[in-house]
C-alpha cells in the first residue's frame, strides 16, 4: 500500500499531562511521529497539536479513530497535504570565516531567509517556509560548517474561511 505524508491537527484540553496522553497513543500503537508542534489557540481552553507522520490509508484511519477516543481530545482532523497552508521555522548557525562570509550572505538572500545574529565566529539565520524549502536550504548550507540547527516541525491551517470545527471529510 502506498505510504503518504499526512498532517493531523488535534484540539486538546489545555491541561497538564495531555501531550503525553496523545504521544503515548502513538507509541503504544507503534506509529512513528515525524514532527510535532504544540501551542496555544484562539481559545484559551484548548491547545492545538500538529502531527505529521508517514502512513498508509489504514494507519491514518486507525490513528484518527484512536485519537478520537482520548478523553482530552476534542477534535481531530486530517489536513489535505496539498491544499493547506503549512510552515516550518528553522534556526541555523554556521561558522563565519572571511572566505565564506560573502557566500553565506548571498545564500540567505537567494533563499529569502533572514540573518538574525552576526558575529566574527558565526552567522545565525532564520528560515521559514514549507518543509521542502527548509530541506533545500539546509542542504545548501552543508557547504559551510553548520554549528547547530533546530527546526520546529510543521504548523498548518486549512485554506479559506473554515476552521477546525467546520465539517471535514476524513
Amino acid at each position: 500500500m502506498p505510504r503518504n505524508k499526512i498532517i493531523i491537527a488535534i484540539y486538546v484540553d489545555n491541561q497538564y499531562g495531555v501531550l503525553s496522553r496523545v504521544t503515548a497513543m502513538f507509541t503504544r500503537r507503534g506509529y512513528n511521529i515525524d514532527s510535532l508542534t504544540v501551542g496555544e489557540t484562539e481559545s484559551p481552553e484548548y491547545s492545538r497539536i500538529t502531527i505529521t507522520l508517514t502512513a498508509e490509508k489504514n494507519d491514518k484511519d486507525q490513528v484518527v479513530s484512536q485519537l478520537r477516543k482520548l478523553y482530552n481530545v476534542k477534535k481531530v482532523i486530517v489536513l489535505s497535504t496539498e491544499d493547506c497552508i503549512k510552515r516550518e521555522l528553522l534556526l541555523i548557525k554556521v561558522r563565519n570565516t572571511e572566505q565564506q562570509h560573502a557566500d553565506i550572505v548571498e545564500a540567505t538572500n537567494i533563499f529569502r531567509t533572514k540573518i538574525i545574529d552576526f558575529t566574527d565566529e558565526a552567522i545565525s539565520i532564520e528560515a521559514t517556509g514549507d518543509s521542502q524549502k527548509i530541506d533545500a536550504f539546509i542542504e545548501y548550507m552543508k557547504k559551510f560548517e553548520i554549528i547547530e540547527m533546530c527546526r520546529t516541525g510543521i504548523v498548518a491551517l486549512d485554506r479559506g474561511g473554515t476552521n477546525i470545527w467546520s465539517e471535514h471529510e476524513d
Binding site: R21, Q62, S65, Y71
Partner: protein
C-alpha cells in the same frame, strides 16, 4: 454541605449507586477508610489478601452483573499491585473504577515514601485516568469516571487522590446519576448494503464476542441466524450469551476453539462480526484470515473497524440496533448445502472425541450436569480454561467469567469471589495447579466472608498449556513447565479454614463435586489429570483453520 475530600469520595460513590467495594488499606487512603467506616450500612467493603485479588474481584463483580466494579488501594505498592488487574479489565472492556491514594501534592515529584506515578503507569491500560489536584474537582471527577467506565465501549478508569485532597474541605451536593450517552443507531443505507451482501451469500457465519454480552443480544442473534439460515460461533468473550445447545451454535472458534466452528469460519463466504475485535486467538493469523469471505463488522468502537482485518462493510453503531433492523430487513434465506456441510463438520468433530475417555472433558460435563443454571463458571488461564470453554454447557447469560484478552493466570479466585458476592450465587472456579498458585492467598478472603465458591484444580503437575506448545513445537523439551511441587491442596484448604477433597477419576470426581458444591463456603477439589493431556483442536502457528490439528495422531504431521 461542607465535607472532607474523603467524605466527598464516599458520598459520591453512594450517589453513583455503589454498594460494594474491594480493597486494601494503607497510609495514603486511611482517610477514605475512616469515612467508609461511617457508611458500612451503605457500602460493603471486602478486604482481600492482596490488591491484585481485590481488583480481580471488582472485575468479577462487573462481569457477573454489568455494573461498574470498584477497587481501592493505597499509594506506591498498593497502586502497582492493581496494574495486572486493570490491564485484564482493559483488554476485556470491563467497566471498573480504581481509586488510589497518593502522597500530598507538596510531596509529589520528590520520590517520597510510597510515591508512584500511577496515572503514568496506567496510561496505556485505562480508558482515562485522573490525578485530582484540588478537592473542588473531586466529586465531578468521580462522576466522570463512572460515566466513562460505562460509556461506549466500557473499560477501566483510575482516580489518583493525594492525601491533602482527601483532608481538604469543600461543599458537596448530591446529584442525579448521569446516564452515559447512548451509542448511535445505524443508517438505513448500512442495512441496505448488508442485505445486498446477504443476498449474494450462500455460506453465512455469525461471529459474536464480548460486545454481544454487553448488549445482551443473544436471542436476536439466534433470530437473525434463523432468517439468514446461518451458523453461529463466538470468541472466548462471547460464551454464555447464547445457550450452548442452540441448534445453530457451533461453540467457540479459534486457536483452541471447537473444530466445527473454526472450520466453518474458514469456509464461510459471508462473516457477520458483532461486537468483536478479530483477535488473533479467535481468527488465527489475521493476514490469512478467511481471505475469500465477505466481512461485515459492526462494533461500537470505530477504531476496531479494519484494525486487525480489512472488512467489506464496517459499521460503527449500537450492535443491537443493527441486528434488530437487519432481522426485519433481511429476506428469509435457505442454504441447504451449507447447513449440510456444517453438519458433516460437527460429525467429524464428534467422531474425533466421542467414545474416547477423556477426563478433562468428562469433568466439565459432570460440572455442567450438577450445577444450578445461575452458577457462575470462572476460570484461570491454561488448558483447563480451554477445556471449560470447549465443553461447558452454558444455559444462562453472564455465567462465564474468564480473562480472555490478557490471559491472566491468577485471575480466577479473585474474580470468583467478586462474582459470587455481586450476585449472591455460587461460583465454580476451574483452575490449574499453576494458576491457583498465583492467587490462592484469596482463600483467606473466601473463608472470611464465607463466599460460596467451589474450586476445582485441574492438577496436571504442569504448566500444561506451555508444556503443550513445548510438546508440539519444541520437540518435547519441557523447560520449566513441570510442577514437581509437594503441595497438599486438601491440607492447604484446611489450613485456610476451607474444605478440601481429592479426586483421581471420573467417579471419585463426581462424588467429590456433589459434596463440595453443597459446602456453604469455599471448598477445593484437587483433581489429578494426566500430565500430557492436550487441548485439541489446535492451530499451528501461522496456520489457518483449514489445517487444524484435530487429533493427537496429527501432531507429528505438524512437526514436519
Amino acid at each position: 454541605m461542607k465535607m472532607t475530600g474523603a467524605q466527598i469520595l464516599v458520598e459520591t460513590l453512594i450517589e453513583q449507586g455503589v454498594d460494594t467495594v474491594f480493597g486494601f488499606p494503607g497510609g495514603m487512603v486511611v482517610d477514605i477508610y475512616d469515612k467508609l467506616y461511617d457508611k458500612q450500612d451503605k457500602i460493603k467493603h471486602i478486604l482481600t489478601a492482596h490488591e491484585e485479588g481485590a481488583v480481580h474481584s471488582a472485575d468479577g463483580y462487573a462481569r457477573a452483573t454489568g455494573k461498574t466494579g470498584v477497587v481501592i488501594a493505597t499509594s506506591g505498592p498498593g497502586a502497582t499491585n492493581l496494574v495486572t488487574g486493570i490491564a485484564t479489565a482493559y483488554l476485556d472492556s470491563i467497566p471498573l473504577v480504581a481509586i488510589t491514594g497518593n502522597v500530598r501534592n507538596s510531596m509529589i515529584g520528590r520520590d517520597s515514601f510510597q510515591e508512584i506515578d500511577i496515572t503514568g503507569i496506567t496510561l496505556p491500560i485505562t480508558k482515562h485516568n485522573f490525578f485530582v489536584h484540588k478537592v473542588s474537582k473531586l466529586a465531578d471527577v468521580v462522576r466522570k469516571a463512572f460515566e466513562l467506565a460505562q460509556s461506549g465501549r466500557p473499560g477501566p478508569v483510575l482516580i489518583d487522590i493525594p492525601k491533602d485532597v482527601q483532608e481538604a474541605v469543600f461543599d458537596f451536593k448530591k446529584q442525579p446519576v448521569k446516564k452515559p450517552d447512548p451509542i448511535p443507531c445505524c443508517d438505513d443505507e448500512d442495512i441496505n448494503k448488508a442485505v445486498k451482501l446477504i443476498k449474494e451469500s450462500k455460506r453465512p457465519y455469525i461471529y459474536f464476542g464480548g460486545g454481544a454480552v454487553r448488549t445482551s443480544i443473544g436471542e436476536d442473534i439466534i433470530k437473525l441466524a434463523d432468517k439468514l439460515d446461518a451458523v453461529i460461533g463466538c470468541s472466548m468473550m462471547g460464551l454464555s450469551e447464547i445457550p450452548s445447545d442452540s441448534p445453530r451454535f457451533l461453540g467457540m472458534q479459534g486457536m483452541h476453539g471447537r473444530f466445527a466452528s473454526s472450520v466453518a469460519l474458514a469456509k464461510a463466504d459471508l462473516i457477520i462480526a458483532l461486537g468483536v475485535r478479530f483477535s488473533d486467538r479467535a481468527t488465527g493469523k489475521t493476514e490469512k484470515f478467511s481471505l475469500s469471505a465477505t466481512k461485515i463488522h459492526v462494533d461500537c468502537d470505530r477504531a476496531e473497524i479494519g484494525k486487525n482485518v480489512p472488512v467489506d462493510l464496517g459499521i460503527c453503531c449500537d450492535i443491537k440496533d443493527f441486528v434488530d433492523r437487519l432481522i426485519k430487513a433481511a429476506p428469509q434465506r435457505k442454504n441447504t448445502e451449507w447447513i449440510k456441510k456444517v453438519e458433516q463438520l460437527k460429525q467429524r468433530e464428534a467422531d474425533a472425541y466421542e467414545g474416547l475417555p477423556f477426563l478433562p472433558r468428562d469433568t466439565i460435563n459432570i460440572i455442567s450436569d450438577n450445577i444450578k443454571p445461575d452458577t457462575r463458571l470462572v476460570t484461570d488461564v491454561g488448558q483447563h480454561q480451554c477445556w471449560a470453554a470447549q465443553f461447558f454447557k452454558f444455559r444462562k447469560k453472564r455465567t462465564w467469567i474468564t480473562s480472555g484478552g490478557l490471559g491472566t493466570m491468577g485471575f480466577g479466585l479473585g474474580a470468583a469471589i467478586g462474582s459470587s458476592i455481586a450476585t449472591n450465587t455460587r461460583s465454580v472456579l476451574i483452575t490449574g495447579d499453576g494458576s491457583f498458585g498465583m492467587c490462592l492467598n484469596e482463600l483467606a478472603t473466601a473463608v472470611t466472608y464465607n463466599v460460596p465458591v467451589t474450586i476445582v484444580i485441574f492438577n496436571n503437575h504442569a504448566l500444561g498449556m506451555v508444556r503443550q506448545w513445548q510438546k508440539v513445537f519444541f520437540d518435547g523439551r519441557y523447560s520449566n513447565t513441570t510442577l514437581d511441587r509437594k503441595t497438599d491442596f486438601v491440607k492447604l484448604a484446611q489450613a485456610f479454614g476451607a474444605k478440601g477433597f481429592k479426586a483421581t477419576d471420573k467417579k471419585s470426581f463426581e462424588e467429590a463435586f456433589k459434596k463440595a458444591y453443597k459446602v456453604k463456603g469455599p471448598a477445593i477439589i484437587d483433581l489429578t489429570i494426566k500430565t500430557d493431556s492436550l487441548v485439541l483442536p489446535m492451530l499451528k502457528p501461522g496456520g489457518t483453520f483449514n489445517n487444524l490439528i484435530l487429533r493427537r495422531e496429527d501432531i507429528s504431521d505438524a512437526e514436519k
